[in-house]
């Protein structure tokens, strides 16, 4: 291609620094105009706020039998009382805290492991990739409960932390697969080749060349893992494998069903926790679609 004009290339080169700055501005520009992102984030922030300041207004111990039994919401008991006369509001706001904790720690750990395994498998390829692939598959197929049963049998007293770590350790395969695929496609790009040829170490290439180009993707993965961890925790709590020394939204539903909230019609006991989980996780997902539209010009609505 000796006779080709090189205008395009030379132009692109001296535009690079300008573009990067412009890109960040562009993301912010589209972010503040994206309704999905704004509404999703708004709802999540609302619940975070409630989890943070809600307990300050709680007047009782969540486990103490403080009032009349099975009271509907009233001025005294904002969310009513349980079959035993515990304050549902207190349980709810403390449960919210537990939920966010599980999301951050469980989702964060899951993302971190997924990132490490995904980067290594995607960048290295070959036999390393195959081995990690088998590992990913095994974790994907084994019922998480089976492992948790062993943990539960040994640790008669379990807190939210244990549960979160456990979720993080078992929920990463999805993230690992997605990140592996992304890394794999970035690996063969010119700028990575260039870094490799200039003798950069693999670890440095991953952190300086590949990771920055996947930031948006990693953020979205974290959000999905965050939501996923909350849902898994709710399931575990519901079948009695969750924390034993505190309250959570899943446990509230567990207790409600176990102690006849359905039969007695104590809807105020089981409606709020499930609703909160649905609203938080659903908003996280919707936020993610918004982010996708911000980062991916093809999806933007004009």
């Amino acid at each position: 291609m000796t006779e080709q004009i090189n205008i395009e290339k030379s132009e692109r080169m001296d535009k690079v620094p300008v573009k990067k700055q412009k890109k960040v501005n562009e993301f912010i520009y589209f972010a503040i105009r994206n309704n999905k992102l704004k509404i999703g984030l708004g709802i999540v922030l609302l619940f975070i706020l409630l989890a943070l300041i809600g307990p300050l207004f709680a007047k009782y111990d969540w486990n103490a039998y403080i009032g009349p039994m099975s009271q509907p919401p009233s001025r005294e008991f904002w969310f009513g009382t349980t079959t035993f006369g515990q304050d549902v509001y207190t349980q709810f706001v403390l449960g919210l805290r537990a939920t966010f904790l599980v999301g951050i720690i469980g989702g964060g750990l899951g993302t971190l492991i997924g990132i490490i395994i995904g980067f290594v498998a995607g960048y290295r390829g070959g036999i390393v990739d195959e081995v990690l692939n088998v590992l990913t598959n095994v974790v994907l197929v084994i019922p998480t409960f089976a492992l948790l049963l062993i943990v539960a049998a040994y640790l008669k007293v379990r807190g939210i932390m244990i549960e979160s770590i456990f979720i993080g350790l078992t929920a990463w395969p999805w993230a690992a697969r997605a990140i592996r695929a992304q890394t794999f496609s970035l690996r063969s790009r010119d700028f990575v080749d260039l870094a490799r040829m200039s003798g950069m170490k693999p670890l440095k290439i991953i952190f300086t060349e590949i990771a920055p180009n996947m930031m948006s993707y990693l953020l979205m993965t974290f959000i999905l893992q965050f939501g996923g961890a909350i849902l898994i925790a709710a399931t575990l709590d519901f079948i009695g494998l969750g924390p034993t020394n505190t309250i959570s939204l899943g446990l509230m539903m567990n207790y409600a069903v176990m102690w006849g909230a359905l039969q007695f019609g104590n809807w105020w006991w089981f409606v709020p926790p499930g609703f909160a989980i649905m609203a938080i996780v659903g908003s996280l997902y919707i936020m993610n679609v918004g982010l996708d539209e911000v980062f991916n010009p093809k999806l933007r609505e004009m």
Binding site: Q4, I5, E11
Partner: protein, 320 residues
């Protein structure tokens, strides 16, 4: 006259305002003419091509008209344009390598496309086989999936597919840029062959590789920043261009036989203007070596010799 565009104006809608990607474009293409369309990337070449066949948001029709064989094309209406697409105007897109559905056999896809346009596949099949033969493809390619083909094969397949209904105008957008040099030449010659056999009446060949145009085009239209700069026969554009931009473009072409280790390749200094708010007057004036005070007014695109159009005040003055 095959194609006639008059004062065509098409903008890109973005949240930051309209990008004036195509501003007051007027030109003709004669029957049997292969017109090359050249210019830097972002100058509006592809916008022009898309405006004629597939004007979709965020592109927005502002005004002007496009006539093909004396009939006005409803380019502003996505749906009614469908009757003209493929049968009258067709395109080989920039992305020809990925233009075919990866999960359908090529023959099956062709059949479904034709049937959807209410054309019998059976009756067209014989012609399809002849065309494949013409571009040196075996007809068992129809039983294959696109990923089984090489880049050159895909390109030729799309050429056959796009021209199957003998369109009056074919737009070939950067079709050679992804190919190696020998395949480039073969594909370019096939385009000429298709014209010579009257499979297509006229063509617009978009490229920034002027050497390809030198081989196949009858005339060349040079665009700059959404406006027409110069149009003339290929010989004239290559050997005696008038517009300062064309001159720079041509002079930046490497010459055969010169060793480039001794001579630095020169690009054109400066950047193309942003088209959100294009400069008043001649859009090239900031990069132009011969600009003068009159250039703050917009130069008209006028015919200074037969078939030679230029938009430059210097040339106007000289001819005046």
């Amino acid at each position: 006259m095959s194609l006639q565009t008059k004062n065509l104006r098409v903008y890109y809608q973005t949240l930051r305002g309209d990008v004036k990607a195509l501003d007051d474009v007027t030109f003709n293409i004669k029957d049997g003419e292969i017109m090359g369309l050249a210019g830097e990337s972002g100058c509006g070449k592809t916008t022009l091509a898309n405006s004629i066949i597939y004007l979709t948001p965020p592109m927005k029709y502002i005004d002007g008209s496009v006539e093909l064989d004396g009939e006005e094309l409803p380019i502003w209406d996505i749906d009614s344009m469908n009757t003209f697409r493929y049968k009258k105007v067709s395109i080989i897109p920039q992305y020809a390598m990925n233009a075919m559905n990866p999960t359908r056999k090529i023959g099956k896809m062709t059949e479904e496309l034709l049937v959807s346009k209410k054309i019998s596949y059976k009756k067209t099949k014989a012609e399809l086989d002849r065309r494949l033969d013409l571009v040196e493809l075996k007809n068992d390619i129809l039983g294959m999936y696109p990923i089984e083909l090489s880049g050159g094969m895909k390109q030729r397949m799309v050429l056959v597919l796009s021209t199957l209904l003998n369109p009056s105008l074919l737009i070939a957008d950067e079709i050679t840029s992804a190919l190696d040099v020998s395949t480039q030449k073969a594909v370019a010659e096939m385009l000429v062959e298709f014209r010579n056999r009257k499979i297509v009446k006229s063509m617009i060949v978009i490229t920034h590789d002027i050497s390809i145009l030198y081989q196949i085009a009858d005339s060349i239209l040079v665009m700059y920043a959404g406006k027409l700069a110069e149009k003339a026969s290929t010989e004239v554009i290559i050997h005696s261009p008038m517009h300062p931009y064309t001159r720079l473009l041509i002079s930046s072409l490497p010459k055969v036989g010169v060793k480039y280790s001794e001579k630095k390749l020169t690009g054109i200094k400066g950047n193309t203007p942003l088209l959100f708010n294009p400069p008043v007057g001649c859009r090239f004036k900031d990069r132009c070596p011969v600009a003068f005070d009159k250039c703050i007014k917009e130069p008209p695109f006028i015919e200074i010799e037969k078939g030679h159009f230029v938009a430059c005040w210097r040339e106007c003055e000289r001819n005046a």
